[in-house]
C-alpha cells in the first residue's frame, strides 16, 4: 500500500508536469518519468513482460520520436505565450460530456461484478478488498506464471491471434500514411524549386527594363 501511494503521487505529479511545462523538452522528460513509473506499476501488478514492453516501446521509440520532432522544429524558438482563455467556449459541451461520463461510470461501477461475486460498490458488505483476490505463486526461473512472456505469448498467438494480425494492418496503414505525408511535401518542394528556377530569368529581364 505504501508503495502504491508513493508511486501514485509520483505518477500524478509527473503527469501535471507534462501538461504544465513551458518547454516541450521538459515535458518529454516528465513524460519519460511517467512511463517509467507506470512500468513499475505493471511490475507490481505482476505483468513483467508488459513492463518491459512499456519501457522499450514508449520510452525507447515514441519518446525518441517526440525528441526528434522537437529538434526539427527548434525547441528554443517555439516557446509561446498562453493564448486567450478558451474555457468559456468549451464549458457547455464539457458539462454535457462530463455528466454522460459520470452516469456511465456510476452505472458500470454499480453493475460490474467483482472477482468474488458481488457488485463493485452497490453492496458494501461483499466489497472485495485486495485480500480476496487470489495470490499468484511464482517460481523464480520457471515459465508459465501469470503475466510472464510464456503466458502472454500463448494467449497472443492462440486465442487473440486475429487482433494481433489486425495490429499488423494498423501499423501498415501508419507506415503508408507517414510515407504519403512526407512524400507529398518533398514533391511539392521540388516543384516549387523548379518553378522558381524557371521564373528567375524573366524577373531579371523585367528589372533591367
Amino acid at each position: 500500500m505504501l508503495i502504491f501511494v508513493i508511486l501514485a503521487v509520483a505518477l500524478v505529479v509527473s503527469a501535471i508536469l507534462v501538461v504544465t511545462a513551458k518547454n516541450p523538452v521538459h515535458s518529454v522528460v516528465a513524460l519519460l518519468a511517467n512511463f517509467a513509473i507506470l512500468a513499475v506499476f505493471y511490475l507490481t501488478l505482476s505483468a513483467e513482460f508488459l513492463a518491459a514492453i512499456q519501457i522499450i516501446v514508449y520510452s525507447g521509440a515514441i519518446l525518441i520520436l517526440f525528441v526528434f520532432v522537437i529538434a526539427l522544429l527548434g525547441a528554443g524558438t517555439t516557446v509561446y505565450d498562453v493564448g486567450p482563455n478558451r474555457l468559456g467556449n468549451i464549458s457547455t459541451p464539457a458539462v454535457i460530456v462530463g455528466v454522460i461520463a459520470l452516469i456511465m461510470l456510476g452505472y458500470s461501477l454499480f453493475h460490474a461484478q467483482n472477482p468474488s461475486g458481488g457488485a463493485m460498490l452497490g453492496a458494501a458488505t461483499v466489497l472485495p478488498g485486495a485480500a480476496q483476490i487470489p495470490a499468484i505463486t511464482v517460481t523464480p526461473g520457471a515459465p508459465g506464471a501469470f503475466g510472464s512472456v510464456d503466458d502472454f505469448g500463448r494467449a497472443l498467438f492462440t486465442r487473440y491471434l486475429l487482433p494481433f494480425e489486425l495490429t499488423a494492418f494498423v501499423l501498415l496503414i501508419a507506415v503508408v500514411g507517414v510515407v504519403v505525408l512526407a512524400g507529398a511535401t518533398t514533391a511539392q518542394r521540388r516543384k516549387a524549386e523548379t518553378r522558381e528556377r524557371i521564373s528567375k530569368p524573366e524577373r531579371r529581364i523585367e528589372v533591367t527594363r
Binding site: V12, F66, I133, F146, V178, L181
Partner: protein, 106 residues
Amino acid sequence: MIPVQMSVDPNLYAGLSAIVFFIGALGVVLRRNPLIMLMSIELMWNAANLTFMAYARAWLNNAGHIFTFLVITVAAAEAAIGLAIVVILFRPRPVANVDDVALLKG
C-alpha cells in the same frame, strides 16, 4: 514458490487512472502547443492501460494484457502519424500554435 499478493484494491487503480486521464484531457483542451497536446494524448492512452492491467490482475485474466499491448501498438502508430502531420504543418511557421491552423475554416 513465492506467493505474490495483490496488495491494493483494484478500484484504487481505476481512480488513479481516472485522475491521470483527466490531467491528459485538460492538457489537450488547454494547451496550444501541438507537441504537448500529443503528449497529453499519450498520457490518456497510458491511463486507460493502467485500468486494464489492474483489472487483469484482479480477475487473473490476461485479456487485459493483450488489450494493453494493442493499445501500445495503436499509440505508436498514432504518434508516428501525428508527429508527421505536426512537422508538415509547423515547419514553415515561426510559432507552433494549433490555433494558427484554420485552413478548413476558410
